[in-house]
């Protein structure tokens, strides 16, 4: 008797929960509440150049849906090749499916930093990509891609150290005329792909003071991982 009462109670309890759920649905169906106002989210992205003598080309900052602008082991996109060989971020910023973009106004020199603010609504989960070339190289870049931001609450911040990638689209000859940065003033983008055609981590530059006599680079142009620090803060 007592047991069966318990069972009944349990059934009633479950029924209430189900009904409650149904009520909620019915409310939505019968008297649709106004669409919730989209909440605007603003992120501040700061990049710090912690290299010795590698200016970073005008930075491309993008918020987008879930997608990677590059992947180690894959061939680089044409847009990434244009950025990583010549420092021109326009094709990367024109990536399809972006929610917001910002472009650096000028190169970010060693020891300098630059901040960007991007605002999106909360209707779609935002993923961050940041890309910039190490301009005293053939085709080295640093950045991050497809970083989920949805876990960041207001005033939350995350910081990460960035490695150097090799686009794999131009041999790392370090030769005169092949490097667009101030160490050379040579050619930027060239559509020919004469290297591994695979994005990898960068092996580092050698320089003429090391064991590459024909290099226009000097000891100070060498770099190690990490090369930059990225700080992402949700400010709104």
């Amino acid at each position: 008797m007592k047991l069966s009462m318990l069972r009944n109670l349990a059934v009633v309890g479950m029924g209430t929960a189900l009904l409650a759920a149904c009520d909620h649905n019915d409310n939505n169906r019968n008297t649709p509440e106004p669409e919730p106002e989209p909440v605007m989210l603003t992120y501040e992205v700061t990049i710090e150049n912690i290299s010795a003598a590698q200016p970073l080309s005008p930075v491309a900052v993008l918020l987008h849906g879930e997608q990677s602008l590059w992947q180690v082991g894959e061939s680089a996109s044409a847009a990434l090749e244009v950025l990583a060989e010549g420092g021109d971020n326009s094709d990367v910023l024109a990536t399809e499916g972006t929610l917001a973009t910002e472009s650096g106004s000028a190169p970010v020199g060693p020891g300098s930093n630059e901040s960007y603010q991007l605002t999106v609504s909360d209707e779609q989960a935002a993923y961050l990509s940041v890309v910039t070339m190490l301009v005293n190289t053939n085709d080295a870049f640093t950045g991050i891609t497809n970083k989920a931001l949805s876990d960041l609450a207001v005033n939350d911040s995350m910081s990460m150290m960035l490695p150097v990638y090799d686009t794999g689209t131009e041999a790392n000859s370090e030769a005169a005329g092949t490097i667009p940065g101030p160490a050379d003033g040579g050619e930027g983008f060239n559509a020919e792909r004469d290297d591994a055609d695979t994005v990898s981590y960068h092996p580092g530059v050698v320089s003429s003071q090391d064991t590459l006599p024909d290099s226009v680079l000097m000891a100070e142009h060498r770099f190690d991982n990490p090369v930059a620090r990225l700080i992402i803060t949700r400010v709104e």
Partner: protein, 237 residues
């Protein structure tokens, strides 16, 4: 009174559910070679008790580790791992793991094997290896990422010229495709071992002369900066 009984019933049901879910941990280990031009010889991926290790920075390499680091031979380490009842996958890539390539090892860990270690030789080097030493395997289901550094076994001078892979043999082993990718006729970078303990590898020097110079390594391609590998561990219960 009735209510508290109900709560108790619900609680015991919840506990029963938890108990059913608790069983052995399955581990999937994906290793990606991040480098531009370094090949990994057959990897040994192993879960073992935390009090064991394949290598320790600052300590001398075992003979088994030396055979792996100088010649890519993991058979000695496999035997040692078997002797301590480790769970392991040997040579998941079925040969060399090419630059930027990935390979996956999957195994179920015994209850006490909660530490993950990975080793594989780096080519072209004299006694360089990629290593993970006794990383605590999370017991919570999820995906975890670890980046690995390049180590020097400290057992062979880094002369950077063609040679052999047998323990104690000078020079670097050059199996295909390495034999066509590196230079020849180098005079040798050094004959000295500066640190005979396992240490962070100073990196390849190389040179720009494929037919001579001091090194048979190509300086613009076969160098690296740490990390050299990305390990993605997926734990399921």
């Amino acid at each position: 009174m009735t209510r508290s009984n109900l709560f108790r019933l619900m609680l015991s049901a919840a506990l029963a559910g938890t108990a059913v879910q608790a069983h052995a941990v399955d581990v999937e280990v994906e290793v990606q070679n991040l480098t531009r031009g370094i090949y990994f010889t057959p990897l040994l991926v192993t879960a073992h008790t935390p009090d064991q290790s394949l290598f320790n920075v600052g300590e001398a390499a075992s003979a088994e580790l030396q055979a792996m680091a100088e010649g890519g031979d993991i058979s000695g380490l496999e035997t040692a791992a078997m002797a301590i009842s480790a769970d392991m996958v040997a040579n998941p890539a079925g040969g060399l793991l090419m630059p930027t390539a990935s390979t996956t090892a999957t195994f179920t860990t015994a209850d006490t094997n909660t530490a993950l270690s990975i080793v594989g030789m780096l080519l072209p080097t004299n006694d360089g290896f990629v290593g993970l030493n006794s990383w605590p395997i999370p017991q919570e289901a999820g995906t975890y990422t670890v980046y690995l550094n390049a180590y020097d076994a400290g057992t062979e001078a880094n002369d950077e010229i063609r040679g052999g892979g047998a323990p104690g043999a000078p020079g670097m082993p050059v199996p295909p495709p390495l034999e066509d990718l590196i230079g020849t006729g180098g005079s040798g970078v050094t004959t000295t071992i500066n640190n005979a303990m396992v240490h962070i590898h100073p990196g390849n020097l190389g040179d720009a002369d494929m037919m001579g110079g001091q090194s048979d390594i190509q300086n613009t391609v076969q160098r690296w900066l740490n990390p050299v590998a990305k390990v993605t561990v997926t734990v399921t219960e």
